[in-house]
Amino acid sequence: MKLDITLAVERRLGDPLLKIIVDDYLTLADGPALEEYHFDLHIPDEPHSLKIIHHGKTVEDHQLDSNGNIEIDKHVEIKSILMDDIALERELWDGKFFPVYLHKADTEPYFICPNLYLGHNGTWQLEFITPAANWLIAGRKHGPKLEGTIFKTNQEILKSAKAFFKDLPDV
């Protein structure tokens, strides 16, 4: 599967550090964040998990203005992910970000979703299935709904037709 990831990277306070992992065993990238990643994965057709891990950020990695508001925050933001040349649309917003809080308050959530901004250290995780095109098509359900119309196509009728023709003489 082709996997293309585009990020916006805030590096004024130094390069954010990233790991990109599939299924907890396949490390695709590990080091300073890049704006673009292009991978060619050889993974079986089954459910998978993509993780983008932001790590190594310290308390010094954001800069405050005179009012105490964050002026610069070391982070990456996911701009796009393409699987087999197909851009993820709403699927991208299904990804969950599990932050590692430096000082976790009770009110802070265990994970944030939808979220594409990786400001805290932590893991952004997206479950997907390969072949990606089939997974995306099944989830998106584009196009007209033909059931109950004269345009319909029924799998059972196709199956019986195959069986019917298979045994007929070739005339």
């Binding site: 004269i150 009728i157 003489p169």
Partner: protein
């Protein structure tokens, strides 16, 4: 008094009003002749369908288009009751002339049922026209309109119109039946498309169609004929040379329909909308100017159409861009095959790289595409067929992003009268079965002996299974399988004496 009644008869997919009755109505209006359209086809799908149990409707519906289908007494009674109520309405109106639009072969059985019951009850002059005057199922041309002859020989009609209404209907209304196209095997004189009147849809219940658009869809026409000459297509024979409306004429017509019927979605029902690149560009540009002048957003109108695949030299990225902004919604494209060799044999006049360019541009500008594919062209080898499957796979990304909204694989290649394949079968080394002329599905290619009718059907079914597995929305599969099964059984009966 209504002088002329125009009928639409089943079975035509009820997606939008039919153009032919609206064209005739426009012609009659121009002649100041009082007329009315009865949309029996829509009533069949919207009311009759719901007035009987689903099983009865399915049987009746199959009866209309499956050759050997028979109905029980009860099922036939249901159909006749539906027909009789329309006959009552026709007789009540007592028109001078009844014009019946026989849209295709799928409207023939209903036409016969209707006329068999109507004729004993009235002397109203009955005139039929439309593509359904011929018996061919996959073509629009035949040297002899056999269905029209059948109706006339059985005294079910008084006259038929073969070809264009623009040059025949005015003559008939003047009492002149001695004109090309009226009761003749040859076609009516071609009209000048630049002189055509606007269609009149006032008798149609536009919003009751299953168009999928809340404000309905209207048919329009950009051209007659085709710029290309594909070997399996009879349009050049049936419709003559390519004649097209100017970009300005087309834009004005669309704006007229919007202003009169408040419809913003249109379907061009002719062979292609982008045959004259210059006029098509002008049409899109004028729509954009209209939007701007009236403070309307891009894509305020939507239009769908058949379109051909152009190369990047012929159809620039800017053409796709203005097309998308003007409102191009869905383009029906005869991609036909994934093999460049087979496409060349078909005279499709484009290659796979052109299709890739077109698809990327359609996707970029959010224009939907509907694929038409022919399985079992005479020169299609197994390797060529595999390329068609590969083409489906390669374009799966456009299913995922919503560009491709459907695929139609037809019922395997048939050879129809009026096509280059019919006229010159020797060019592809095609022969008929049992010494007959190659026609319909009854042909073989000497150079490709493995491509039997059964093999073509098996490939067709395989392609359907594959397309569905890739997530393509597959159109008309059930109907097409019924037709192929029916045809093959007929062939078995004819050639092998096997009856199922």
């Amino acid at each position: 008094m209504t002088r002329v009644l125009i009928l639409t008869v089943p079975r035509v997919a009820p997606m939008r009003p039919a153009a032919a009755p609206a064209i005739i109505k426009g012609i009659l209006n121009k002649l100041d002749i009082d007329n009315k359209i009865f949309d029996i086809n829509l009533d069949y799908f919207n009311n009759f369908k719901n007035s009987v149990d689903p099983d009865t409707f399915n049987h009746v519906d199959e009866y209309l288009f499956v050759d050997k289908k028979e109905l029980t007494k009860e099922q036939l009674s249901a159909l006749h009751a539906f027909i009789d109520q329309w006959i009552d309405k026709i007789i009540q109106h007592n028109p001078e002339k009844l014009l019946i639009s026989v849209f295709s072969w799928q409207a023939q059985r209903f036409t016969v049922e209707l006329l068999t019951r109507l004729r004993p009850q009235t002397n109203i002059e009955v005139i039929v026209g439309g593509q359904g005057l011929i018996r061919e199922e996959n073509g629009s041309y035949s040297a002899i309109p056999r269905f029209a002859h059948y109706l006339k020989n059985n005294k079910l009609i008084d006259h038929w119109i073969r070809g264009e209404a623009e040059t025949t209907v005015p003559e008939i209304m003047r009492g002149n039946y001695d004109v090309a196209g009226v009761d003749t095997d040859f076609l009516a004189k071609y009209s000048n498309i630049k002189d055509h009147s606007y269609m009149d849809f006032t008798d149609f219940d536009i919003l009751s169609y299953q168009s999928g658009y809340s404000d309905g869809v209207l048919p329009m026409e950009t051209s007659r004929g085709c710029v290309r000459n594909c070997v399996f297509c009879d349009i050049p024979t049936m419709q003559g040379g390519f004649r097209f409306k100017t970009g300005e004429q087309l834009a004005n017509e669309m704006i007229h329909y919007y202003e009169k019927y408040n419809v913003r979605s249109f379907f061009f029902h002719d062979a292609l909308c982008n045959g004259s690149v210059k006029d098509f560009r002008k049409f899109n540009t004028l729509l954009l100017e209209y939007y701007e002048k009236n403070n309307l957003p891009d894509r305020y109108f939507k239009y769908s159409s058949h379109a051909i695949v152009h190369s990047q030299q012929q159809f620039k990225p800017i053409d796709f861009e203005i097309m998308g902004r003007a409102g191009a919604d869905t383009m029906v494209i005869g991609v036909e095959s994934g093999s460049d060799k087979v496409r060349a044999d078909m005279r499709k006049n484009y290659v796979g790289a052109d299709l890739d360019y077109n698809m990327a541009e359609y996707s970029k500008h959010k224009i939907q595409v509907y694929f038409l594919i022919i399985v079992g062209f005479p020169t299609e080898t197994r390797e060529d067929f595999e390329l068609t499957l590969k083409m489906l796979k390669d374009n799966q990304k456009y299913v995922a992003d919503g560009t491709i909204i459907g695929v139609n694989l037809g019922t395997t290649l048939t050879i129809e009268e009026g096509t280059a394949m019919y006229n010159e079968p020797e060019k592809l080394n095609i022969i008929g079965i049992n010494g007959q002329r190659p026609q319909g599905p009854d042909w073989r290619c000497i150079d490709n002996p493995g491509l039997t009718y059964k093999e073509r059907i098996m490939r067709r079914l395989e392609a359907q299974e594959y397309a569905v597995s890739l997530g393509y929305t597959f159109w008309k599969g059930d109907d097409q399988i019924k037709v192929m099964t029916d045809k093959y059984q007929e062939r078995l009966r004819r050639l092998a004496g096997v009856i199922h």
